[in-house]
Structure formats: structure tokens, C-alpha cells
Symmetry: C2
Subunit: 187 residues, 2 copies
């Protein structure tokens, strides 16, 4: 995904901001990349409807593990340029070589337990905070979420940061919504 407003580099390679603890990436880590984030979900039908039908992701692979009674769902937003292999095994390999993949884990049967819910990480005990989707047009995205009846943690007009919103996914996990070129002067 490229957006016309994304600035281009000037000068040599960027070597990182310096803070206590920061080290130069060792040669042994060449090619490491942040492939996916895994969240547990209660009901795959509801979560898949949310992440595909509202957040625009595509289901790349479903993996079933009957022996352990769970299934994994791997999703990503695809752009027109992305060449996803049709053949299943090739597509699995392709999926694990990308960035920005969302993995949803369904432990079978939780969808039938009325009082079952996962922990969002923002109530105590805290840990994981949120995932973030950047969008090309923040206002249009908010109008879309409103039209879809999405639940908000923070609407744009709440608090000081008018260019940041937080919505909830089907399990209550927080999703931050931003438009990159509106955040130049943040922090």
C-alpha cells in the first residue's frame, strides 16, 4: 500500500533514534520481520465478519488442529499489487513471510458459552494494549464505522486528540484508527 502523501527519505540510511538501551541491529538478525499478532476470539463467524466486512481484511488461511480442538485464522489487508498464491501450501508460506498479518485463535466451543469472554489487556491486569489500523481518510473511515454501528472506546471528538479514534472489535479488543499524514506533529 502506498499513499501519495508519504514522505520520502532524504540522505543516507536511517540508523534509528538513540535512547538508553538501543543497539545497532546485529548481522545475525538480518531478515527478521514482525509477521503477525495473535488474539484469541470467542466466535469466528462474528470476528471474521468484523475483520473482513468492516476492517477490509482477507482470510488468507484457516488452519485446523482437531487434536487440540482449535483453529487459527490468518488475515491481512491486501492491495491490488499483492500476488497471493492460490495453491494452499504456497499460500501458507507466503502468509508467514509477510508483515501486518492478524492471527485469530478459536478454541472450539467458546462461542456456545453465553458468559465466556476474553480479556482485552486494558482493564487490570494490563499488558497488551491495542492493534492499530492506518487509513487513507480518517473522516471517511469514521463515517464508515458509524454506518456499520461499530462500538467506540474513544470517538475522535473525545479528549484532546481529534485525529485518533479507538474502536472495539467483536471481542472487545481495542483498535486504534489513524491517518498517517495527520500525525506529523504528534508527541
Amino acid at each position: 500500500m502506498t499513499t501519495p502523501s508519504i514522505p520520502q527519505s532524504t540522505g543516507g540510511p536511517f540508523s534509528g533514534e538513540q535512547e538508553p538501551g538501543v543497539k545497532t541491529p546485529p548481522i545475525e538478525t538480518t531478515g527478521f520481520q514482525f509477521n503477525h499478532t495473535m488474539l484469541r476470539i470467542k466466535d469466528p463467524e462474528i470476528s471474521l465478519a468484523f475483520y473482513t466486512g468492516i476492517m477490509g481484511m482477507t482470510l488468507l488461511r484457516k488452519l485446523d488442529f482437531p487434536e487440540f480442538q482449535f483453529s487459527l485464522y490468518f488475515l491481512a489487508q491486501l492491495d491490488d499489487q499483492e500476488q497471493v498464491p492460490q495453491e494452499t501450501h504456497d499460500r501458507t508460506v507466503w502468509t508467514f513471510a509477510q508483515r501486518g498479518i492478524l492471527e485469530l485463535t478459536h478454541n472450539w466451543g467458546t462461542e456456545q458459552q453465553a458468559d465466556f469472554a476474553y480479556h482485552d489487556g486494558n482493564a487490570e491486569p494490563q499488558g497488551f494494549g491495542h492493534i492499530c489500523f492506518s487509513v487513507p481518510d480518517f473522516d471517511a473511515a469514521i463515517a464508515w464505522f458509524d454506518q456499520q454501528g461499530v462500538d467506540y472506546v474513544k470517538r475522535p471528538e473525545d479528549g484532546k486528540m481529534r485525529n485518533v479514534a479507538f474502536i472495539r472489535d467483536a471481542d472487545g479488543y481495542w483498535i486504534e484508527i489513524v491517518q498517517a499524514d495527520r500525525l506529523a506533529t504528534i508527541g
Copy 2:
């Protein structure tokens, strides 16, 4: 990051696996992308040393919010082709337009509390599970982690899946380690 072993597509665009709930990405979601995952950390010096010096990430931006007593750190693995803007505001915009960014949140002072710890999401109450880094050479990566004294949740030789490992970051969050082209027949 491109790896020679990643399969290329054959045929038309991939439209996704079909499962109950799955919908075609609506036109309103064009350009949405999964930008980052946020994890809270106790001590930035320790976490930055881990994610840069052991996991090969680069600190793209630190954002301070003195009024609210917290700082944010945005990191990514960069490859040689990536042109990161040197200018700070441009770099912020660039960061929010990428995929595969890790955001670490530090609430000031937690590093001085001996008994302070965040929740990893895998003990109860469950929710978030892990992040995953794919590596070009699984065996070499494991040797590297061993050399660095990294803590394991699951070593390659534990359990049935010899091509998957889980390590712990500085706060105990789980990081899955995989090599994409070894996972063709998983699930």
C-alpha cells in the same frame, strides 16, 4: 524484505478462503492497513536492548507525553531497501503508514517498582497471545537466541512442532519464531 523461497501467485487475484462470516472487503476499506501492535513495557532501556540488540529492530520514533507521564516507542525491522525519512515529522508520518510496527508504551516510573509486572495474556485472564517474527533461517536464529541467553516458552525440540519456537521478551510477552518455507504443510 524478500526471500527467494517465497512462492509467487499463479492465476488471478486471490479472493480469500471462504468460511462462515467472511465477506468481500468493502470499497470503503480500501487502503486500510494493520500498522502496529501496542504492548506495555516496564523498563524501556531493557526492552529497547532486547528488541534492537536481539530481535534486530530499529527505533523509528520516541514520542513523549509529559502531561500524562508516558512515552511511546515505535520500532520496526528495516531492510536495505527501506527509505526512512531523516526529518522527524516526515518520519512520524512514514512510521504510521507502514505495516509490521511494534509500539511499546512506558508509563513512567514502573521501572523503579521491584514487584511491578505486566500480564502476558496467556495466563488467566487470557486474551492477547503473542507476536510472531519470521526469520530467514530458523536454526541460525535459535543458535543466536541461545547465544544471547534468551528465555524460551517452547524450544524447537519441545512438543511436536519442531519448526516453531516461542521465546519471551523482556516483559514476558511471548514471541513466536518461524521460518516461512518450513511451514508449508502446517495445519
